[in-house]
């Protein structure tokens, strides 16, 4: 089965059908049909995806000469290559550039680059890393009289994506 649907709520609101489903993907499809949600047509839909992954790890970068950089790795279970990453530190970055990326599955590299023109030394503090999952709703068809509406995801749903769909329709 391409997608697994678990119904959470089925009701009528203001003459429209309301549905809430938990959906799990195996990565083989990008589309949810209205009929998957026990509807003929989707009027409006939104989904709540699984939480982004967040991690906090103490990192201690050595003193960096001008034009030098250093990389430390954070274990980030569940992060995969292609996830977007944000990083924040609870200390003044003293003019350094701090970036982060998924280096390999389950591993995020935090890069500190000093191009400040002088030596810099970051204090040892927690660095917070967030891996943002890529799932997104690209288009919704069905509110203009299509016989069967559907929601299309981009990037493609990947194996293990789990999220909740809330939909109003007919």
């Amino acid at each position: 089965m391409a997608l697994t649907f678990t119904q959470k709520c089925k009701a009528q609101i203001g003459g429209m059908a309301f549905r809430a489903y938990e959906v799990e993907s195996d990565g083989s499809t990008t589309t949810i049909n209205a009929s998957d949600l026990d509807l003929r047509e989707i009027e409006i839909i939104f989904f709540q995806q699984r939480n982004d992954l967040s991690f906090a790890t103490n990192l201690d970068f050595a003193e960096l000469a001008d034009a030098a950089g250093a990389t430390s790795q954070v274990t980030a279970t569940g992060a995969v290559l292609g996830d977007f990453v944000q990083v924040a530190a609870s200390v003044d970055l003293v003019d350094t550039a701090v970036t982060a990326y998924v280096q390999a599955d389950d591993a995020v590299d935090v890069r500190v680059q000093n191009e400040a023109g002088d030596t810099r030394n970051l204090a040892e503090v927690p660095f917070h890393v967030r891996a943002i999952k890529r799932m997104g709703l690209e288009s919704l068809t069905g509110s203009t009289g299509a016989s069967e509406g559907y929601a299309v995801f981009y990037p493609t749903l990947t194996d293990g994506d789990t999220f909740t769909v809330w939909a109003l329709g007919f």
Binding site: M16, I44, F46, L81, G82, Y101, Q103, R134, G136
Partner: protein, 165 residues
């Protein structure tokens, strides 16, 4: 008209009024009155944004010497200069290079790769992704008003789900 409202559902839940409206802004207001959603007061509201912009493109930048950089330009229709934030990610290891992304001009995002790692960096071929989150932020929910920050801009499209009376 300052805001365009398209009703999706009007109903009752647990003794409360429930409304779902699709809203289109023209940039001249940052407030929604309860009356616009056919209510006298809000108890709760959820804003679901229009969809983020996404792009996937092939990476093939070759080897970068230490101190060298590379800029690739990608078309992201709908990206707005001075308004949108851009993020980038790759399907391969960035091997200590820095990757930054920004809206270079309307509809165009540039991704800058800088190699200051101390040696040559040869990033493998793969897929680069660019994401532009679209924010329509609810700042304050105050009785009869929903107040947005940053201010709504022309072309913002979103859905308001509200409970009230």
């Amino acid at each position: 008209m300052a805001l365009g409202f398209s009703i999706k559902v009007r109903g009752q839940i647990g003794g409360k009024m429930f409304r779902a409206f699709e809203v289109t802004a023209d940039g001249s207001t940052k407030t929604i009155d309860a009356a616009s959603l056919e209510m006298t007061e809000f108890d709760s509201a959820i804003i679901t944004n229009r969809q983020d912009l996404s792009l996937a493109a092939s990476i093939n930048m070759g080897s970068l010497d230490d101190g060298a950089g590379n800029t690739s330009s990608e078309t992201v229709t709908g990206a707005v200069l001075g308004h949108d934030y851009a993020m980038t990610a790759m399907s391969v290891d960035a091997i200590d290079t820095t990757q930054t992304a920004y809206v270079q001009s309307a509809g165009k995002v540039e991704v800058r790769t800088d190699n200051e790692s101390g040696g040559a960096a040869d990033i493998a071929d793969g897929v680069r992704r660019v994401k532009i989150p679209r924010y329509v932020g609810l700042s304050t929910l105050s009785g009869k008003y929903l107040i947005f920050s940053p201010a709504l801009e022309s072309g913002d499209v979103f859905t308001v789900w509200a409970l009230g009376h």
